[in-house]
């Protein structure tokens, strides 16, 4: 982004303008009276947000926001809300004023502290000058990965990421508990949620057969490329899940479930988290701290490997292998959880439709 605009100050103005657009979508959301509108506004909000994040030099976040916020979230929202196209009645004013006043007070309170906050874009602010800068300086020496965001995410703060993967796993467990009771086997799965009008269309199925491997390949590219550019396990996981969902949309959930039963998906989610944790245990067994990737390889073995491409340290192979391993775990957990959630939602919606029809 920075390369597009001549002056750094203009860049800030551009960014502020995009943020205005985002806020405008929130205003629209406040006023929206139909669920479908809300969902679409939410999707647009996420997309615009992703654009804004690009202007803020946060391509990794933008990638995630686009794939998670605008992609997956919208999809499951639509999946859950398909049958409720009702208009949202407004709340009685008596119920409204207290939360409204509270929110207004919160806004005013927060606005009052603005003078005490770092100036927008200030390179000398405490966040940018202290730990943030340390990461930029230390990464070549400690990790060796060019993408500092990945280095921080996967290595320095790898424990956070383990927690984050656990959150996703927990969501999968929760959704399967709540909705999964009826999607045990492919036979019990609902008839289909494929695009009914086009079901069986040869064009679509051929295109899908071509596209799905490419999407999978792209997922692995995103996974492996995370070290060098935007991307990583989460994004890869979401993309992989998208491939599966595409399969379900074109060939029917039933077919997908036959190819990849719920039990397998659930197991993969658990295995992903378990794999992540196993990397940590392995480090402990090799004499390091939990999740210390440097301890993954024994020095003898590491000495035989070529040195890393950027900053010539001999100990970066451990970090690279560790990061790749945990990112794979993340991808596995994310992809399977997303698939499980998709199974649960689609299975459930058509089930209740069927109940309504009969």
């Amino acid at each position: 982004m920075s390369l597009l605009l001549a002056s750094p100050e203009l860049e800030l103005v551009f960014s502020a303008l995009l943020l205005t657009l985002v806020a405008g979508l929130v205003v629209a959301l406040l006023a929206a009276r139909s669920v479908l509108t809300c969902i679409l506004l939410m999707s647009a909000f996420s997309l615009t947000m992703a654009l804004w994040l690009m202007t803020m030099d946060a391509p990794d976040v933008a990638f995630t926001e686009a794939s998670v916020g605008a992609g997956v979230s919208t999809m499951i929202l639509l999946g859950a809300a398909l049958s409720s196209t009702d208009v949202i009645p407004s709340l009685r004013p008596g119920r409204l004023w207290f939360p409204a006043v509270a929110c207004l007070a919160a806004f005013i309170g927060m606005a009052l502290i603005v003078p005490d906050l770092p100036v927008f874009g200030d390179p000398g602010s405490p966040p940018s000058a202290y730990v943030g800068r340390l990461y930029l300086e230390q990464t070549p020496h400690d990790i060796g990965a060019p993408n500092v965001v990945t280095a921080v995410l996967a290595s320095y703060r790898g424990f956070d990421t383990l927690g984050e993967t656990t959150v996703i796993f927990a969501a999968g467990v929760g959704v399967l508990l709540l909705l999964g009771g009826q999607v045990r086997s492919p036979d019990a799965a609902p008839e289909d949620v494929s695009l009914r009008a086009s079901a069986g269309s040869p064009v679509l199925s051929v295109a899908a057969r071509l596209l799905i491997p490419i999407i999978c390949l792209y997922a692995f590219y995103v996974l492996a490329h995370g070290e060098f550019g935007a991307g990583g396990g989460f994004q890869a996981g979401v993309i992989l899940a998208a491939a599966l969902i595409l399969h379900a949309l074109v060939f029917g959930v039933r077919e997908t479930m036959k190819a990849l039963p719920v039990g397998v998906v659930r197991a993969c989610a658990a295995l992903g988290v378990l794999g992540y944790a196993a990397v940590g245990f392995l480090a402990i067994l090799n004499g390091g701290r939990f999740l210390d990737y440097d301890a993954l390889l024994s020095p003898v073995f590491e000495a035989g490997l070529p040195s890393s491409h950027l900053a010539g340290g001999h100990h970066h192979w451990g970090q690279r292998i560790g990061i790749l391993a945990i990112e794979t775990g993340v991808m596995l957990a994310v992809a399977s959880t997303m698939t499980a959630i998709f199974y649960a939602f689609t299975g459930r919606v058509s089930r209740s439709d069927a109940a309504g029809a009969s």
Binding site: G109, L112, I113, P115, D116, L117, P118, S125, P126, P127, S128, A129, Y130, V131, G132, L134, Y135, Q138, D142, S155, Y156, R157, G158, F159, D160, L162, G163, T166, V167, F169, A170, A171, V173, G174, V175, L176, L177, L178, G180, G181, R184, R266, A267, A269, A270, L271, V273, L274, A277, G280, F281, I284, G288, R289, F290, L291, D292, Y293, D294, A295
Partner: protein, 505 residues
């Protein structure tokens, strides 16, 4: 003297990694439980995870007693770059609390689940339970503010769904869980915004580092706002009055094992974080932490103690009575926390632990005799059909009422003494008034289970399973033991309080 001084529960190699294993063990157990082919294996996994955590917590308690505080740099990166797990006396106290309640719940869980949910859900329930357990342990162990947010979510996300699973018995579980989810998420988000403000001022996320930099910073409006947001967020999570509305619904409709575990731990851990942030991280900003404690939390806690107790009296469902009593108890605890003296904080911590034991016993035994969201009357005469379970229940209720020779009495005693010592007569009056009210609802429960005979038709009550009885009686007996000789627990609490107040124990 800590009761763990000189104890050694494992080899030094294991102790060295105890902080990480404390969290990683139940996480692994959660995955294994989700992979388990049968409910039985999932139960073993969860029991194993909980036991390993308890073992690690004991190791850490001994280690902290020996060396003061344990710091563990995850990934081998020293803070502030890496995430630090930091255990001092205060965190170890809460680690022990969470892991003891986790083990007790886990022991009883298999038989409780059998009463409430179809077998196919058991392994995922165990997995969700272990995830919540992981999250709470992580919260107590972490020394990193943002990592705390992550664990806050780890402990919550699964819990929302677990609470909603109560819908097989009581459909209100669904709406309660949704309200819990909205309120919990708002709380966690306020917390993370608050952490962001502190980060904006200090540039670091490590709590110890943050405390140092806050003490050195010149302007602190943003820091105070951040602390205020953290306080409100955690108050929501801790069900502090008037942000408690989500709790009665969630406690009355959720599955027993979930409610028993949450009632004993979740709100308590939020109180821990509150103490950590307001008294430790904000330690340098004298005006901020203390001001929030004195002018925001203390009055609310006083009102909570009275109002929630009165509300408890007017409830007709057993679990709702107990839920409101929990809200009042949080009020007591916070009154102790805000007293500003080591004695007050010690008393608050002691009360917190004993109350966790008592509430876990109560919810476990109510669940074990198959009494869930129903009205108190359906318990009439239960004492005859399930004497062992009801005896433990009665002991716990006596403890809740503050009867002598129970830990509940000593806890209240310490609290009143400390508050009187600090000259907070209004707080003493509030607690005394609330205790009086507590006598009414505790008496109502006791009278119903022990002395009533006629019962509406249809409700059957049977004795708890041996495993559940073992867990229930272990906690009930401990609560009586701590009512006679509390020195071990009391010393732990005092060490914890002294460590956070910076006084020598």
């Amino acid at each position: 003297m800590s009761p763990f001084a000189g104890a050694q529960f494992a080899s030094p190699e294991v102790i060295q990694h105890a902080p990480a294993l404390l969290i990683a063990a139940p996480l692994t157990a959660a995955c294994v439980a989700a992979l388990s082919p049968s409910a039985r294996w999932a139960w073993f996994a969860s029991l194993g995870g909980a036991l390993v955590s308890l073992w690690m917590a004991l190791c850490l308690a001994a280690e902290v007693a020996r060396s003061g505080a344990v710091s563990y740099a995850v990934g081998g990166f020293a803070p502030p770059l890496g995430i630090e797990l930091r255990l001092d006396d205060l965190s170890v106290f809460f680690c022990l609390l969470v892991s003891v309640m986790g083990v007790a719940t886990s022991i009883a869980s298999a038989s409780l689940l059998r009463l409430e949910l179809p077998e196919r859900d058991h392994s995922l329930m165990q997995a969700g339970f272990m995830l919540a357990f992981t999250g709470l342990l992580g919260l107590t162990a972490t020394g990193d503010a943002f990592n705390a947010f992550v664990f806050l979510e780890v402990s919550s996300i699964g819990t929302y769904a677990l609470v909603a699973m109560g819908a097989s018995q009581d459909r209100r579980a669904l709406t309660a869980a949704f309200q819990y989810l909205v309120m919990g998420t708002i709380g966690a988000t306020l917390f993370v915004i608050g952490v962001g403000l502190l980060y904006a001022v200090t540039g670091t996320l490590n709590m110890a580092d943050m405390a140092e930099r806050l003490a050195a910073s010149s302007s602190d409006t943003a820091a105070i706002a951040g602390l205020a947001l953290i306080t409100v967020g955690l108050a929501l999570k801790a069900a502090m009055f008037p942000l408690h509305a989500w709790l009665p619904g969630a406690y009355s409709a959720g599955p027993t094992m979930v409610v028993a575990f949450l009632a004993g731990t979740a709100t308590k851990v939020s109180v821990y974080l509150l103490i950590r942030f307001l008294m430790d991280v904000a330690g340098g900003l004298e005006s901020a932490g203390e001001g929030l404690l004195t002018w925001l939390i203390a009055p609310m806690a006083g009102i909570a103690a009275i109002v929630a107790s009165v509300q408890a009296v007017f409830q007709t469902e057993t679990r709702r009575i107990l839920a409101y009593s929990s809200i009042a108890q949080i009020g007591y605890v916070l009154l102790g926390v805000t007293s500003g003296s080591v004695a007050g904080l010690t008393a608050a911590l002691f009360l917190l632990f004993t109350h966790a034991m008592i509430k876990t016993v109560i919810f476990l035994s109510l669940g074990a005799i198959d009494h869930r969201g129903s009205r108190l009357e359906t318990l009439a005469g239960a004492g005859r059909e399930a004497p062992w379970t009801i005896a433990a229940l009665a002991l716990a209720i006596l403890g809740l009422a503050g009867a002598p020779f129970t830990a509940g009495f000593l806890a209240k005693w310490r609290l009143l003494g400390a508050l009187a010592d600090d000259g907070r007569i209004w707080a003493v009056v509030a607690i005394a008034a609330s205790s009086l009210t507590a006598l009414v609802y505790c008496g109502r429960i006791l009278e119903t289970v022990l002395f009533r005979t006629r019962r509406p038709a249809g409700a059957t009550i049977s004795e708890a399973s041996p495993a559940a009885l073992a867990a229930i009686w272990f906690l009930a007996a401990s609560s009586v033991w701590y009512g006679v000789d509390a020195s071990a627990l009391y010393d732990l609490a005092r060490q914890a309080a002294a460590s956070v107040m910076g006084a020598s124990p």
